[in-house]
Symmetry: D2
Subunit: 335 residues, 4 copies
């Protein structure tokens, strides 16, 4: 029998992706939770699809028998609803930034608002499963990582752990994202005519996802230069990462570090030395693809890390985390 | 009376752009020089446009009274034709890589072919006018710079000259280009379905434009990490450049270095501290736009340099150089 | 000496295009008229461009010596300002729908609002110059046509006049437009992720531009099936028009009808029989390109008409009309 | 136990889509059949995927135990291989045009080549399952329909059968397709810079898919005006179909005709009166979505029919047909 899993924010891009994944999940089926702020398209089909709907209230947890609820919502909605849904007995996976930074102070510093559910910060488990799998197993409240930090940490943390990087020269992370990363909303900046045939940097050195990279990878802020840029595409994040190695290393040697760390990981794929992924390779998948180019003689290294921002960067990783929390096989619905 | 200027390769993207610019140049008019390899679209208009055509031969220089000829051609065509057109009395501006690297050895190293017009390498003037204006004035043979090096050198050289950059930590140049940079041709890699909604790196650390950056900026190869990436757009190059300053400097202080150097330059525009250009700002113009973000406390600096690869990166700069060679005002036809 | 021409709505796509055209007009220079509703980007360039600015008030007409003002504004702004600017002595060219339909009743029927400047409807000259040139010469108030009707009428009216079309089977006009036709604004429907890789019909049989087609071409509503569809591109309108000829006619014979009508027109270009324009041919030009395919045996005819919606469909045609009103050569600034 | 299904042409867009669908088919698994003409990308992943590969020869049918083979190949390859694979015992579903037109004469007329497997034309079952389900059940050789005819016939045939259309005024089918319809190959016409921000008609009245529409719908060539146009997107076909009804009918009445015909069809979805599908609704699905707008007073009707050209227009419908031929439930792997 399928377990019911609610989605708040199913009209956004991440929420819609979560509904698509859950619709073919072997153990779950989605329930779309209507939130007052949602607005709502008029249904245009003559006959309706059979996906269940219910109000986005804690009462729905019992009425619909929800084992888990995914919050694909702005942080203020997540902070408002999380405790109520937990009390009603659901596992909560929050895709917003509400519980990512660990303390109310850091939240205020980067999100420019007061944290209104600080009591939950201690319980929330921040989980990139490749690093935090043990903590996510059986957790009640999971904070799903941001899209940029997922791609960055999967590329950087194994190298930091292995001491590969000459930290005093810093790490450059030149990140490019499709427009769906900005969410589904009316905005002049993300309107078609402003974006098509254009390319622009929108966050220089100070993106709110930076602290997530630092916390997970162990890199210092002064060592990490990050730029977020907008590609005229729908979905995908590609990060081009530059550093100098602490000792001369070839691309193959750096790949060995990754391969050791990720050998048994189902969702991290490595490329042969000198080859790097493009976005096509990861779109609509839960994979993070990593490739390395290097010149041992001059000590220049480039790592490319690519994910789909809506899947491994949002809904896919959320369901990977949910699988861990509910005790399903981690890859269920995701391959 | 208008001077006639020939264009070999007018069916390519750079050549077509040159024809458009010359058509509204106050002192020149274009003559399209048909080359045997050109193929040629069937003309579909019921009535033809009035643009003159002639064969791409040295005889046309006299027959058409050509004062200058622009070569928007592969290097092997440029090497084949340059001497003949010079002998016939035309100023030649070559947009290919044939005469950019100064020696036949370097040409062979980077272009993987023998140089077949090495006798002209001594005479050819490589000219980014902002740096090489004096040499371009009155020159007979000008080697027009590559698109990537134009954007890179305009951003990097003033900082190298002023000693702003901590060279031991290196300079990262993360470059993104529209697809027209690959030229007008049938190719699976640049076919629509492979490029749309995608983003890919196609040259890691070893692009043939790298030596042009090093030669003009004075940076060493071991200091310079360059990646060329493909944006799913028609035209434009944006380079995101990272370095650590030799001493703590704010964005405003770095901008002062640029402003001193470029104060009177008609085609370099600077942005206020913390602001950077997007491609829309420079498309279909001969401008190079430069912006700076920096954090003096941590010593992280990002410079963004943007041009239109077909204008300032090719046909526009070629006509800027031609204006210098023929003695016209440098901005003629370009504002 | 250049005549000053004001632009209200210069931050919209049509208004910005008008400013670009006027900046290289041989007899005029643009003055940007700031309107309270405009909002306004922060200027990011370190040094400002030299384009003049003034408030969007009738006082500016005298203060700035404006001979003409272009209204690239919503109809309610045009209705509010037109009389004031006329009284101050400027020629007004209105790009909105305010004065296109001739009567307040029709305006209300199609624009769903009361007309608030009905007193000007009698004076306003609706002008596609190819048809209404005489009336536009010396006019004080010109109503610039809509983008769809411009492309449709240039294709349909000569055929109606010549009796070519079998009207009882009707005329189908399948129209496709780039997204800039929707104006520059925040809107979910025109946001990048909703539009890219998509194609959608947004107006079936009942677009507010239909009455303009009927009024100018002499076709009856019951004879005219019109669908407006959105292409994922920035600019351009292409209309594919289908009808049955009243008598068997080849494409060449139909082209002869056009050629007779448009022989001396500088902005209408015809294609050889069986060839039709694409949007690339007309983008950033004031041309309307027309091509015909036909099968005389079976009586099936297809006409393709293409324009740039921001140029011949808006700013370019407005300046063509302004040239007529002010007594300049009609093509000034437009070739 | 899974049945093995071979794919010849798996590197093309339709073949790759077939591999994706079969990879999650409940009863089948894909085997990629390498064809000499294939060329082949170098594999870049460090570890290979587990998908089986074999030579594209009849021997592979037995060696790999292939119950069926999908030919996503040019017609000349299909004609060359079909008999051999049939003889080896596989069911063949051919996605090319080789067996669609019933006779060698019609093939030569529209494909401009001799038919080299005319002996199979009698056995081949042309199948849009919604119309030809009975014949497809248990068939050995199925000719999978073209993309344009699938969308057109699903929209037109029910109306022709019900006598809804006034045939003497004809039917207009204005068709738009994404670029993947042209196949995966190097070609200037489908290169990114030629297609992006453009829109063009490439086949006026004479597309080779037209006879398929006529044969299935019962419409005469003289009644059917068809134009094929290129949208700057990867995938999707949308056809805007215009006709006059034989008697006054509302959109709701026309929808009733469709609803009666398609009530139990799993892959045809209807829209409420006045609403029509966009391409987003059908991309990456096997659905054909149909909507109707009409004005009973004036007798103008517009029907919009949308499919994904690579799914319902190619690989998806091929697997739907394969399911019928092999006796699986028709929707297996497709919902």
């Amino acid at each position: 029998m399928s377990a019911s899993v609610g989605i708040v924010g199913f009209r956004g891009y991440s929420g819609a992706e979560a509904a698509r994944i859950l619709a073919r999940h072997p153990h779950c089926e989605p329930v779309l939770l209507e939130h007052r702020a949602d607005g709502g398209d008029e249904a245009k089909l003559l006959r309706k699809s059979g996906i269940r709907r219910a109000p986005a209230s804690a009462d729905s947890v019992k009425a619909e028998g929800l084992k888990a609820v995914l919050f694909a919502t702005p942080p203020e909605v997540s902070m408002d609803l999380a405790q109520k849904f937990l009390d009603a007995g659901a596992v909560v996976v929050d895709l917003s930034g509400a519980f990512r930074l660990g303390t109310a102070e850091r939240y205020k510093q980067w999100y420019k608002e007061e944290h209104t559910a600080a009591g939950l910060l201690g319980e929330a488990v921040y989980s990139i499963p490749e690093f935090h799998r043990a903590a996510a197993r059986g957790a009640r409240l999971i904070s799903n990582p941001g899209c940029y930090p997922t791609a960055a940490n999967l590329a950087i943390r194994p190298l930091v752990e292995a001491g590969v990087i000459d930290r005093k020269c810093g790490i450059v992370c030149d990140a490019k994202s499709g427009v769906s990363g900005a969410g589904r909303k009316a905005s002049l900046k993300t309107s078609f005519c402003e974006v098509t045939e254009n390319f622009s940097a929108y966050s220089m050195l100070n993106h709110r996802h930076v602290p997530e990279v630092l916390m997970t990878s162990g890199v210092e802020e002064s060592e990490f230069s990050f730029t977020a840029q907008l590609i005229p595409i729908d979905r995908g994040i590609l990060e081009t990462i530059y550093f100098r190695p602490a000792m001369p290393m070839s691309a193959a040697e750096i790949l060995e570090v990754y391969d050791k760390r990720y050998h048994d990981e189902p969702f991290v794929r490595l490329y042969q030395a000198g080859h790097v992924p493009d976005l096509r390779a990861v779109q609509r998948t839960n994979f993070c693809d990593i490739g390395v180019a290097a010149d041992a003689a001059t000590g220049r290294v480039v790592v490319v890390s690519a994910i789909d921002n809506l899947v491994k960067g949002a809904a896919g990783q959320a369901i990977q985390n949910m699988n861990l929390a509910l005790g399903y096989e981690e890859t269920a619905g995701l391959l």
